[in-house]
């Protein structure tokens, strides 16, 4: 009896892994790294995580979870409320829609597709923030650098996410 309860609790905890990992990555993007020049061009870590889970475990990170992470990010970062959540939701939807395309594709293709999705996300967020914020559009160069950083960082973050995926989720099956 106790065994089954523990087993069930373990299963529930595992189901929260994608949400937890995405949340931690979102917070990680905000912690100071003390590396010169990096604070201005923080990569979009939350986007990477949402993209990853949308491909590999679409069942475990729903729209509601993505929305709440996006809203939390906006409230913490001081960016226009809703802009971060919108981008994450759109990214997730695009990947869900192209599930067949992503199926069993090599990493290079996944990375390339991320570069495309992230480009759309960054551009859309830039437009959203520019339209909503009272200060108007920020210089596009900053955003472009942040985008390049995101694409460059994806293999590293993707590797960590894949580790988390294999260790914590594959065991439960």
């Amino acid at each position: 009896m106790q065994g089954t309860l523990l087993h069930r609790m373990d299963g529930t905890a595992r189901r929260f892994v994608p949400f937890g990992v995405t949340l931690i990555l979102m917070l990680f993007a905000m912690t100071p790294t003390y590396i010169p020049g990096l604070s201005h061009v923080t990569p979009m870590y939350a986007l990477m995580a949402v993209y990853f889970w949308a491909i590999y475990r679409p069942d475990l990170l729903g729209y509601g979870a993505t929305f709440s992470i996006g809203i939390l990010e906006d409230l913490l970062a001081g960016t226009p409320l809703g802009s971060g959540a919108l981008i994450l939701l759109l990214c997730q939807r695009v990947v869900f829609h192209q599930q067949k395309f992503f199926n069993n594709k090599p990493f290079g293709i996944i990375w390339l597709a991320f570069a495309l999705v992230a480009a759309g996300a960054a551009l859309l967020r830039w437009i959203c923030v520019g339209l909503v914020a009272t200060s108007g559009f920020t210089p596009i160069g900053q955003m472009f650098t942040a985008y390049l950083m995101s694409v460059a960082m994806y293999p590293i973050i993707g590797w960590f996410l894949a580790k988390a995926h294999m260790k914590l989720l594959a065991q439960s099956e």
Partner: protein, 298 residues
């Protein structure tokens, strides 16, 4: 056999319809939130304060390893340069001793002159020191989160400094945390004095590393290396706080290199100079306070 299959497919269709409906609702909600954020900033600020207060302890723990690594690297760097630094310090110490004697002389002179002119002394500032736990940079907003809030006496509009100079000002203050708008943020506008001539200008951030000077009274007056300090206009900042120096003068504008290196900030001081400040209160609060000041004047 057919009935259950039909039921399953019907259930599947219903589920996908529900999912689509939920998705569209959430997309609509993000749009609505963007509009609410534009219309009712106070509500969003309050929500942001509450969330920041709750998440700051987590960010504090998460920022610890990076701080330890940064300290270690700094220690190594300092250790390598310890000899040169020692020689430099000796030299600067002897120079400073000369300045100290000059300052003492000036202080006594100042004292006697103040006595003559019956000058009202400036109020002393009170300071709160806080740790930086989050650098919510990115390309869209330049702000940091610190571990002191209303409970420690940090209020909206207060000035934030490090030993090098001005960092920014408190933009939002929760109970246990506060958000500091950096001078590089696109929303930052600071009245400044340029160079020894003291030309007035506005230092405006644009989310890049170097803010620019706007409304410089005499463009040719700004030269490379000119020091920028706060002017104290509009009572948002006290006069004379060092900000940076002119790093580039060109047709398009004048760029300023801040003294404070953002990537190195670990602790900041929040100073309360007792300034009313144009940003300390929202317009209704100012209106409400207007009769009170009249009363005092009478």
């Amino acid at each position: 056999m057919r009935l259950p299959t039909g039921q399953i497919s019907r259930f599947g269709t219903l589920k996908s319809l529900l999912q689509r409906f939920a998705y569209l609702s959430l997309i609509g909600l993000t749009g609505a939130l963007m509009l609410i954020g534009k219309a009712d900033t106070v509500l969003v600020e309050r929500a942001s304060d509450a969330v920041t207060d709750a998440v700051t302890p987590v960010l504090r723990v998460m920022s610890e390893p990076a701080a330890v690594v940064a300290d270690f690297v700094n220690n190594l760097r300092e250790l390598a340069a310890i000899r040169e630094e020692n020689a430099e310090l000796r030299e600067s110490n002897s120079r400073l001793l000369q300045w100290q004697s000059l300052a003492q002389k000036l202080e006594s002179e100042n004292k006697s002159l103040r006595g003559l002119s019956a000058l009202v002394p400036e109020p002393n500032a009170t300071f709160v020191t806080a740790r930086v736990v989050a650098d919510t940079g990115g390309a869209f907003a330049q702000s940091i989160l610190i571990t002191a809030g209303e409970q420690s006496g940090v209020h909206k509009g207060q000035v934030v400094l490090t030993g090098e100079g001005l960092v920014g000002r408190v933009m939002q203050a929760g109970l246990y945390s506060a958000r500091v708008l950096l001078i590089t943020d696109i929303n930052s506008r600071i009245p400044v004095l340029v160079g020894e001539a003291g030309n007035r200008a506005i230092l405006a951030g644009d989310n890049s590393l170097r803010p620019r000077l706007l409304f410089l009274s005499n463009k040719s007056a700004a030269a490379h290396g000119d020091k920028i300090v706060t002017s104290g206009d509009a009572e948002a900042f006290p006069p004379g706080i060092p900000i940076g120096q002119v790093s580039r003068v060109e047709e398009g504008g004048v760029e300023v290199e801040p003294f404070v290196v953002r990537d190195k900030i670990q602790h900041v001081r929040v100073a309360d100079y007792g300034l009313s400040g144009i940003l300390a209160q929202s317009p209704p609060a100012l209106k409400a306070e207007a009769p009170k000041t009249e009363k005092v004047e009478k």
